[in-house]
């Protein structure tokens, strides 16, 4: 089976394949063909991929005869239509917002394996690109905030007096939030965290952070492990509880996303204005609407001295590791689907992973939620 790896468009610095993972595909028996220069953003030469058993070709002809195509970022509609009919495509497809492309994939008869829909089971963890990238985003958010902050994170005892540790507030203790907590603790900050799911309190505390308790009434999490959306009243109570913590914090990192929906607004303009000049907010939900009033997706803005970071590709800040993780996630998925006898991916709908992440197949959109959105257009 020939698997094609096109380059991602700049400013993306992550790549879909490393020479190490290319060698694993070769061992599996796949014929890997990648676009020339794919590894350049990370300094991987075409020769490094060739040595790993891959074929390197120019953009023209890359997709010819390809039975599978691996991408990272969501495809544009025209890219979806240019895929070989009937091929398998793997990628972070942004299925709820990129509806034109989803329709095009279905119409093209493409079997789209959507990395966002990998089930959150123990077995599938090794394929879970959302988690691997979110974890790196959590790390990158803290390092970025530390670099922008006008003070150090650790306590320092000096002959001229003691420097107090920075206070970091992490809102949302999912994969990204937990890694942010761990990184801020590593750097010596005093860390507080909040999440609407009381079940994560123990995880937060095991990392050495304080769990902020705000009584918002009944909450829960979905079967997929995401926090359920709060009511308007619950959100208001939550904001009041958070305002005080924000005002005392040097860094706030928000990570609250609701899968398939706009991110909830957690920090109002007033709460941002209550923070001291020089403090830093990193809004990891900027790409899906933002948790913070005033965040601009893809940008950094300063309001009354408070820096609002809305950069949307924080995993890309640690592109080397993010690429290694993403390539491994994709490899693990393909290996899972691989039929050694046939030497190719075979999609079996009774398989739990396949069933969950197969977004389009044989001309149809298989995910009910996405299908409903498409029908409502």
């Amino acid at each position: 089976m020939r698997i094609a790896f096109p380059k991602e468009a700049p400013p993306e610095t992550r790549v879909t394949l490393t020479p190490t993972v290319a060698a694993k595909f070769a061992t599996l028996g796949a014929a890997v063909r990648l676009e020339a220069g794919l590894g350049a953003p990370l300094g991987f030469s075409d020769d490094a991929y060739r040595e790993a058993g891959a074929e390197v070709v120019p953009k023209e002809g890359l997709l010819e005869g390809a039975e599978a195509v691996v991408r990272l970022n969501p495809l544009r509609e025209d890219e979806a239509r240019a895929l070989p009919a009937g091929a398998v495509v793997v990628g972070l497809l942004d299925p709820f917002r990129n509806l034109g492309a989803v329709r095009a994939l279905a119409e093209r008869g493409v079997s789209a394996l959507c990395m966002e829909l990998i089930p959150r089971t123990t077995y599938a963890q090794k394929m879970d690109a959302l988690s691997s990238q979110a974890s790196l985003a959590g790390y990158a958010a803290v390092v970025l905030a530390a670099e922008r902050l006008d003070k150090v994170l650790p306590m320092m005892s000096t002959p001229a007096g003691t420097i107090a540790p920075a206070r970091v507030f992490v809102v949302g203790a999912g994969v990204a939030g937990l890694q942010a907590i761990a990184t801020a603790k590593r750097l010596g900050a005093r860390v507080e965290a909040f999440d609407t799911r009381p079940v994560v309190e123990e995880q937060v505390r095991s990392l050495g952070a304080k769990f902020v308790k705000i009584d918002v009434g009944e909450t829960g999490q979905t079967a997929q492990g995401y926090a359920t959306a709060l009511t308007t009243e619950q959100l208001e109570r939550q904001r009041q509880g958070m305002a005080k913590v924000c005002a005392a914090s040097d860094i706030v990192i928000t990570t609250a996303q609701v899968f398939g929906k706009r991110a909830p607004l957690l920090l109002t303009e007033e709460m941002v204005a209550g923070m001291r000049p020089g403090s830093v907010i990193v809004d990891l939900a900027a790409a899906t609407g933002g948790n913070v009033a005033g965040t601009v997706a893809g940008e950094e803005v300063v309001k009354r001295g408070v820096r609002l970071v809305g950069l949307t590709n924080l995993p890309g800040a640690v592109a080397r590791d993010a690429s290694q993780m993403y390539a491994a996630n994709v490899y693990n998925l393909i290996e899972h689907l691989w039929d050694r006898a046939q030497g190719r991916v075979v999609l079996r709908l009774e398989d739990e992973v396949t069933s969950a992440c197969l977004l389009t197949h044989e001309g149809a959109v298989r995910h009910a939620g996405v299908r409903e959105l498409l029908e409502s257009l």
Copy 2:
């Protein structure tokens, strides 16, 4: 005694006085007068200083009647000439390179207390601004490098495989180097360090870093605790030993300065070229000529994919804490010199601290090395 605090010129973000330290001066009995807007870069309002007992005035008239003036950055010659005749001035005066201003200070009859010349004794540590700022520079260098690096610093064990820790090489284990080591270790990096002074090996190892041994023959340190300059041959042997470590490192931080002299060149162009694309070098000696071939003082440049950071004010990256430390260092010096009966600074040449740091006094340049340089002009 009236002490005046002029604003520092942008892009400096550090300030010479915080409201907390202003209150300490008031308690001491000093009449503090500062330039309006002095604290603005850190969000300290003029009112915050007034509440601490200070007087806030416009630039015009600030120096009128001032018997002492506190600065941070080296004075320009015209600024030196504008000081009240016979006044005391305190600051980081860059005495070996800022000779025109030193002569002007002497001619003006100013008693210049040079913060770089504070003796490195246990007693004087609380006044040691070079050390307080260097320590913060060491922290900032690592955080800055981590933010620029294309990978994470800690090892991460994930379901999709293990991310190796970044390798950080710190050259020069003085105050800045030791703080850089500590910060990189905090972040989970694998840290190696080198210094020509074997005495620091134990300090390096106590921070959890590996001490790189390179036999360069006999070396030593000055009475002030600085490394003595190496011979040309010693430098060459040192470079060869370091080249291998550099090539394996993701981040290199160089901190080698020789007081009053140009910084030694430690990383050649070839050594930089031997590092992988995406790696980061921070040259903390950039302001005094640089330890790294290709460093541009005050800038960041990328050569064959390797980022060379030559920013010259890294303490300014954590300006809040750097200001707190500097203001405390200056306060501690002035408090040491304070005569409670007279309510003013009294300079006694038999005092060890005064004798060491009094650069100009009663029309003369007191420091022999600086005087020689001036006479050779």
